[in-house]
């Protein structure tokens, strides 16, 4: 599996620094979390070579530098956030077009497309035009095109945005499966996507990476700091800065919140990724 290393990567737009000296490694199935405006999309665009970094270094396995744009591109499969293709062309025609452009011979491309469509469960829809596909199907076509040529690094930007629950679950399972044998980078602001598909997590906040590590390491950061209990609305309002989630239950609310006070720690619950993410992103606000 490939390891992508970032060293002091900076990027500015119109005098505003979007990414600040990012230094971390991407490996396995890696989820990049962060609130809107954290710089995720900019980082993804740099990693996909769509835009160059202002400074810093990115390498694959300490060998291949991102300065070598054309070679890097041949190792990458990319599913953009707003993926679409030409409306009047069928799924197979689109994929074949992309496969040939990626340098796959036509005869081999047909076999590969068949196998990928099987993998993303679109065999039955391969002769449908792009305009006839649902949002979920289109995302799966996106994954199929990203996987053409068996790239060493798969980059997926906001994979489940706009999908219904059923499609979202199916898509997460697919990503999980794809991450088994290759490095996959998933950027999202939906914590659930990461929780179900990634082993490694990076959290980006205001252009800085505030955490990288395994899922368990992230959860461990907030172990003993999460409590869940029934409170009145007034009580919940009193601790609103600490609230993680709130569910209405008759005249009271089941409130999940961070505990700052050590004495109350006996009654804590086991933390989730979302708890840790919120804990880290709220820290210092």
């Amino acid at each position: 599996m490939e390891r992508i290393s970032l060293k002091e990567v900076n990027k500015s737009y119109q005098n505003k620094q979007i990414l600040k000296k990012l230094t971390f490694d991407i490996q396995g199935s890696f989820g990049l979390l962060g609130p809107n405006g954290a710089g995720k999309t900019t980082l993804m665009r740099i990693l996909t070579t769509l835009v160059p970094a202002d400074s810093g270094e990115i390498t694959m396995n300490d060998e291949l530098s991102w300065n070598n744009q054309h070679v890097v591109r041949s190792y990458i499969g990319y599913l953009p956030q707003h993926f679409s293709l030409y409306k009047n062309v069928t799924v197979v025609e689109c994929l074949l077009h992309l496969a040939v452009l990626k340098g796959i011979k036509k005869s081999k491309a047909k076999e590969e497309i068949d196998s990928l469509l099987q993998e993303v469960n679109l065999q039955e829809h391969k002769k449908k035009k792009i305009k006839q596909l649902s949002g979920g199907m289109l995302r799966r076509v996106g994954i199929a095109q990203a996987l053409l040529g068996n790239p060493r690094l798969l980059i997926v930007d906001e994979p489940t945005v706009g999908l219904d629950i059923e499609e979202r679950v199916r898509f997460r399972n697919l990503l999980r499966k794809l991450g088994v044998n290759r490095t996959i980078l998933i950027s999202t602001h939906i914590v659930e996507d990461i929780e179900m598909t990634c082993d490694y997590i990076g959290i980006l906040k205001q252009g800085e990476i505030i955490f990288t590590g395994k899922k368990e390491e992230l959860k461990a950061l907030v172990a003993g700091k999460i409590k869940e209990e029934l409170l009145t609305m007034d009580e919940a309002d009193a601790i609103q800065d600490q609230v993680i989630s709130l569910k209405q239950q008759e005249d009271k609310c089941l409130v999940r919140y961070f505990v700052e006070n050590q004495e109350k720690q006996q009654a804590t619950v086991s933390p989730t990724i979302e708890d840790a993410y919120l804990y880290l992103t709220r820290k210092g606000e």
Binding site: L50, H70, H82, S84, N88, E93, H97, L101, G103, G142
Partner: protein
């Protein structure tokens, strides 16, 4: 492989839009309709020059250009392909080739359609039909492709719907009819016209086809397209670099040749050249502004005996002329005036291989050789180097050559202006400049394939001979045939009119015979060559300037507007033409070029001749009325009462004897033309008075 894949992919996309195939099919059907309309009008040239199909093609390809870029420029598609190595480049080039091939296909289809409709047994000249193909390529095909590229570039630069507005503005200023937008239609006396500069189509859309020059297919118009395509490609390359579509190395490799092509085409465009324009008023404007009073200094004291002429007829006329000249005066001369058309700019003059000073003003050159005065009977070698020609009456480039003997395109002893503005109606009159004695000519021409001349061919590109008629050179969209001993040279679009030209010969023979008998013009005969050329334009006013009846050949001029939509040489036309023929002959034999005196004779005598030849006189009588109206006191001699001579002419016209071509009045009148005196108007007046009193 990648390229073909992209080509086929975009072909599918465009076909499946439906609207684009329907649009192109619609344009083709519309083209078919206009061609059939042209067939009904029997004018195969009009359907090309003034066909609105170019407007449809240009707008169609402009929007196709926008569309095919827009479908790829959506972020969701652009990003997917941007990270595939060279994908955007392959896709863009494939789109260009696809559109270019669609344009080639349409061009070929239109051409095949044109051949199918207009190619007949009577009208099948290869040169003409080849020029049609070039025309369709240059003015229908290439502008469409340029519009496509423009649309493409615009939608790379401008996002959203604003691009359509900008595209419409660009369309309106680049179409051939953009003079409507700039309000510059008509003959604007300006060397720079913004509408012409920006137009991507036919530059002379408002003028009718010139059957000698052909379509406006000069290299300069091809160069313009090359220049625009090179400029657009440079802009594309810079845009692609900015968008990371190409690398720095790719930019360098592709930018350098494009910049070289661009600079080359700019350099070519700023070189002097001659091309057909739609400004027919240039010549008449020039001579209105440069009126020259006639005096004796127009006749040179030297005689030119032998001409060695080297011509290059490429982008414009370049000439190197060596002349053996003799001082025929009885005294030394230190300067001499010779005639040369003002559009020919002299670079250098040498005398006996030494450069001498000169001054060029209007249609004359003054040569100065104070320190080396020219003794009587002394022979000298004069060498003139000059280039030029720009207006629409005379040509000297790759596409057409029209340098007739009556025009001073060679330095001549006669330094009178080439044209004169005559009568109250400001008619443009060609002042005769053919030599009055035999001269030897050696001619070498580079740049013209098929040249017609009165000299004899002596090897490839060389001609020579002795002639008292001067030299006439013609080339262009001309055909020739020999029938019954007469060689006919005529525009290839007039082919059908010369299928059986014996009626032309008979007409000329009758006119020549009658004139020879009555006017004692012993040299007059049916010429062995007849050049039928459109050498007059709308500025001429009257049709008396273009016909020239020399001893050996006849230049039968007609107006550039004339088109053989019916059998042309009908009795009506021939009747109208008789005075022109007579005038042409008087111009040849007259010792004094007096337009009014000669033109009146030509019409009066022509009327009588028509009567003898049973040709109608309706046109001639109308022409006489017009002439009477146009004659002012200044047209006549100072010592004659205009009213009185008009009255005498009118009375004569109403007499039966005026229709007798053998009448002594015509013999004496002709004698006054051949041997003019200062009292010729009074003599004519007395003659008419005497005849009218009988």
């Amino acid at each position: 492989m990648k390229f073909i894949n992209c080509y086929n992919f975009y072909l599918k996309i465009l076909i499946r839009t439906w609207i684009i195939p329907i649009l192109l099919l619609g344009i083709f059907v519309f083209g078919l309709y206009t061609f059939l309309l042209g067939k009904d009008l029997n004018d195969p040239t009009l359907v090309l020059i003034a066909n609105p199909i170019i407007l449809a093609l240009m707008v169609c390809y402009l929007f196709i250009g926008i569309y095919v870029t827009k479908i790829d420029e959506k972020d969701e598609i652009h990003e997917t392909f941007s990270i595939i190595k060279n994908a955007v480049l392959y896709k863009t080039l494939a789109k260009w080739l696809l559109i270019f091939s669609s344009i080639v296909l349409l061009t070929v289809l239109f051409y095949v359609l044109y051949l199918y409709i207009f190619l007949t047994n009577d009208f099948n000249n290869k040169t003409y039909f080849l020029s049609v193909f070039k025309y369709i390529c240059l003015y229908w095909g290439l502008p469409s492709f340029v519009m496509f590229l423009l649309g493409n570039l615009l939608s790379l630069w401008v996002r959203g719907k604003l691009v359509y507005l900008i595209a419409l503005v660009i369309y309106s200023i680049t179409i051939p009819m953009n003079y409507v937008v700039f309000r510059t239609e008509g003959n604007i006396p300006s060397t720079f016209r913004i509408d012409k500069f920006l137009s991507l189509g036919e530059p002379n859309v408002t003028r009718i086809y010139n059957s000698l020059y052909g379509f406006s297919l000069d290299l300069i118009h091809w160069d313009k397209i090359v220049l625009v395509v090179a400029l657009l490609t440079i802009l594309f390359l810079l845009t692609w670099k900015k968008k990371h579509v190409i690398s720095q190395a790719q930019l360098k490799v592709s930018l350098i040749p494009m910049v070289v092509i661009f600079i080359g085409s700019v350099i070519y465009a700023i070189q002097p050249f001659q091309s057909l324009t739609d400004d027919d008023g240039e010549t008449i404007r020039y001579y209105r502004q440069h009126k020259i009073k006639e005096d004796n200094s127009f006749e040179s004291p030297v005689s030119f005996k032998k001409y060695d002429i080297e011509l290059s007829t490429k982008s414009n006329l370049n000439a190197l002329v060596k002349i053996q000249a003799v001082n025929t005066a009885d005294k030394k001369i230190k300067q001499v005036r010779v005639g040369l058309y003002h559009e020919l700019h002299v670079d250098q003059i040498k005398m006996d291989n030494k450069e001498i000073k000169f001054k060029q003003k209007n249609d004359s050159l003054t040569l100065y050789f104070e320190e080396n005065s020219w003794k009587p009977n002394d022979k000298r070698l004069l060498e003139f180097k000059y280039e030029g020609l720009r207006s629409n009456l005379y040509f000297g480039n790759t596409q057409a050559v029209y340098l007739p003997n009556y025009m001073p395109w060679l330095p001549s002893e006669n330094s009178r202006p080439a044209f004169e503005i005559v009568t109250n109606y400001h008619y443009l009159h060609r002042v005769p400049h053919q030599p009055s004695e035999k001269k030897t000519y050696h001619l070498k021409v580079d740049g013209t394939n098929k040249l017609f001349t009165n000299l004899s061919k002596n090897g490839d590109g060389n001609w020579e001979g002795v002639s008292s008629d001067g030299v006439s050179l013609l080339s262009g969209q001309l055909s020739s045939k020999v029938d019954d001993g007469v060689r006919y040279v005529y525009p290839n679009t007039w082919e059908s009119q010369f299928k059986q030209p014996n009626n032309i010969k008979k007409y000329l023979s009758d006119v020549a015979q009658a004139m020879k008998t009555t006017l004692k013009d012993d040299n007059l005969k049916v010429p062995h060559t007849i050049y039928f050329v459109p050498n007059q334009n709308i500025a001429d006013g009257v049709p008396y300037g273009g016909t020239w009846w020399n001893n050996d050949y006849l230049i039968w001029g007609f107006n550039q507007r004339d088109y053989p939509t019916h059998p042309f040489f009908r009795t009506g036309y021939l009747g109208d033409f008789t005075p022109q023929l007579i005038f042409a002959r008087t111009e040849h034999v007259s010792k004094q070029d007096d337009f009014t005196f000669n033109i009146l004779f030509s019409n009066f005598y022509g009327r009588a001749l028509n009567n003898t030849l049973n040709l109608p006189n309706d046109g001639v009588e109308m022409a006489i009325d017009t002439l009477f109206e146009s004659l002012g006191d200044s047209s006549l001699d100072d010592n004659i009462d205009a009213l009185e001579i008009k009255q005498q002419l009118n009375t004569w016209l109403r007499s039966k004897e005026s229709l007798n071509q053998k009448s002594p009045v015509y013999k004496k009148w002709n004698s006054l033309i051949q041997h003019p005196t200062s009292q010729k108007w009074n003599t004519l007046n007395d003659l008419l008075k005497e005849e009218n009193s009988k």
